[in-house]
């Protein structure tokens, strides 16, 4: 078994290969691609595409192919969640102090309104200055991108762990990768396991990135942090589908779990702040229960 670990997109990544070594060439290729992705789509990078319109006037603008793909999916999620998920809520996170300087000092000014936007093909229409936060869906997309690099290079049996979200094919003997699921807010405590076999897994919670009274997930409809959902897990055909599902679950306090499962073809678990586990009926993993 070969392993390759590195830091990217603000978290620890580990790649496991069960057939080929991670030589210098593939390592370089992966690191460059992720760095390029981060340069283009991190709101913490001044020159990124998601920051390109932070001083723009109302109007219609052209965006790149890839940015259009990401924004189109974000637009679908926004519709699905009746506006509770909105990447334009970056303005609220910045107001709370989760800005690119990591100031963590809430603004004393009035809560800003979230700018309006729409996307059609590669044209984006905005109501004024706007910054997008693709944090909820970008990592899953990036994990699939790394999977694409590995597959193109001939790797067949591998797992990509992007800080707890992942994608895996199978081990060399054809068996699945066994993944333990960590209880939100209880590091080291596991509530179940699930097997990954050519599937993506996304995990999100409101307990991890906290600063003061706030965390990093905002309900765009209220402009406040979500208080009902503690965490969620999704299992899908790709890491991106799974990541998009957890983004919807986390930002949408009274979400229709079945609708999200149907739209993104995923199975899921939602954990409420009261630590109730809402297990999707197609969830294939094991959940530890009392005797």
């Amino acid at each position: 078994m070969e392993m390759f670990s590195f830091k990217a997109l603000g978290t620890e990544w580990t790649l496991i290969s069960d057939d080929q070594v991670f030589d210098e060439s593939i390592q370089k290729s992966i690191l460059e691609k992720i760095a390029f992705f981060e340069e283009r789509f991190s709101r913490f990078k001044d020159t990124s595409e998601v920051n390109a319109f932070h001083q723009s006037l109302s109007g219609t603008y052209q965006v790149s192919d890839e940015f259009a793909v990401l924004l189109s999916r974000a637009d679908q999620l926004r519709t699905l969640t009746a506006g509770h998920y909105d990447p334009a809520s970056a303005v609220i996170l910045e107001h709370m102090g989760y800005d690119k300087e990591y100031g963590f000092t809430p603004s004393q000014k009035a809560l800003p309104s979230i700018p309006l936007w729409s996307i059609k093909d590669q044209e984006i229409q905005i109501s004024g200055p706007i910054t997008f936060d693709l944090g909820g869906i970008g990592k899953g997309y990036c994990i699939d991108m790394v999977a694409g690099i590995l597959a193109a290079a001939g790797y067949e049996h591998y797992l990509i762990d992007g800080g707890g979200d992942m994608y895996a094919t199978t081990k060399a003997d054809g068996s699945p990768y066994n993944i333990a699921l960590e209880w939100p807010s209880r590091p080291g405590t596991i509530y179940g396991t699930v097997r990954l076999c050519n599937q993506g897994l996304a995990v999100s919670d409101t307990a991890t990135r906290r600063f003061g009274e706030h965390h990093h997930i905002v309900d765009a409809e209220t402009g406040a942090n979500t208080k009902i959902v503690l965490g969620s897990v999704a299992l899908g055909a790709t890491a991106w589908d799974a990541d998009c599902a957890t983004a919807a679950f986390m930002q949408w306090p009274h979400c229709d779990q079945i609708e999200v499962e149907k739209m993104l073809r995923i199975t899921s678990i939602i954990i409420t702040q009261k630590e109730e586990f809402l297990v999707g009926k197609s969830w294939p993993g094991e959940i530890f229960t009392e005797a």
């Binding site: 990591y102 990768y177 939100p184 509530y191 586990f277 009926k281 530890f288």
Partner: protein, 175 residues
């Protein structure tokens, strides 16, 4: 004239039969017989081989038939764990509805997983069964990672590194 009388008789008969059918369809539980409690609970206990299986995935859409019996894998001679499937009915405002449960128990009798299966077709019933199913997993317990074997990775919300935690530490130091 005789034909006309026969036609009238058949028409009255037809109206009567249709009326009875419509009355039943619109209010199926108005008769004493239909109002009796129905106990058609069906429990199936099956031995399953070695490792405890995960719950059987069910279709995303509600099952179109009222009772979908749960099937299990072939049963070998040295079975230890058990799968208990149960289908039952209850009366809802929309009529009789069916619901199923599957419990997987290991060899020592510990329930390793439990699942409620929605069979309802009525929209409201699906909503209530969904809510029930969601709360069915009441007794979920945590285990230490060190107690688990054969785990390849841990799925968890990503911990940011570097700048985020460093800035947070500095902020806390100033308080």
């Amino acid at each position: 004239m005789a034909i006309s009388k026969k036609a009238s008789f058949l028409l009255i008969l037809l109206v009567g039969v249709v009326g009875i059918i419509m009355k039943f369809l619109l209010n199926p539980f108005s008769s004493k017989e239909a109002a009796k409690p129905v106990d058609n609970t069906e429990i199936v206990v099956e031995d399953v081989p070695g490792e405890v299986p995960t719950p059987i995935p069910t279709p995303t859409e509600p099952a179109p038939t009222p009772v979908a019996k749960v099937t299990s894998p072939e049963i070998p001679a040295k079975a230890t764990a058990k799968k208990i499937s149960l289908n039952t009915s209850y009366k809802s405002p929309a009529g009789m509805e069916d619901v199923g449960f599957v419990l997987n128990m290991d060899a020592s009798g510990v329930v390793s997983s439990a699942e409620a299966i929605i069979h309802a077709t009525n929209r409201e019933s699906v909503k209530y069964q969904t809510s029930f199913r969601d709360n069915f997993n009441a007794a979920i317990v945590g285990k230490k990672l060190s107690d688990l074997s054969s785990v390849d990775r841990v799925g968890k919300a990503s911990l940011t590194t570097g700048a985020f935690n460093a800035s947070l530490s500095k902020l806390k130091a100033q308080i």
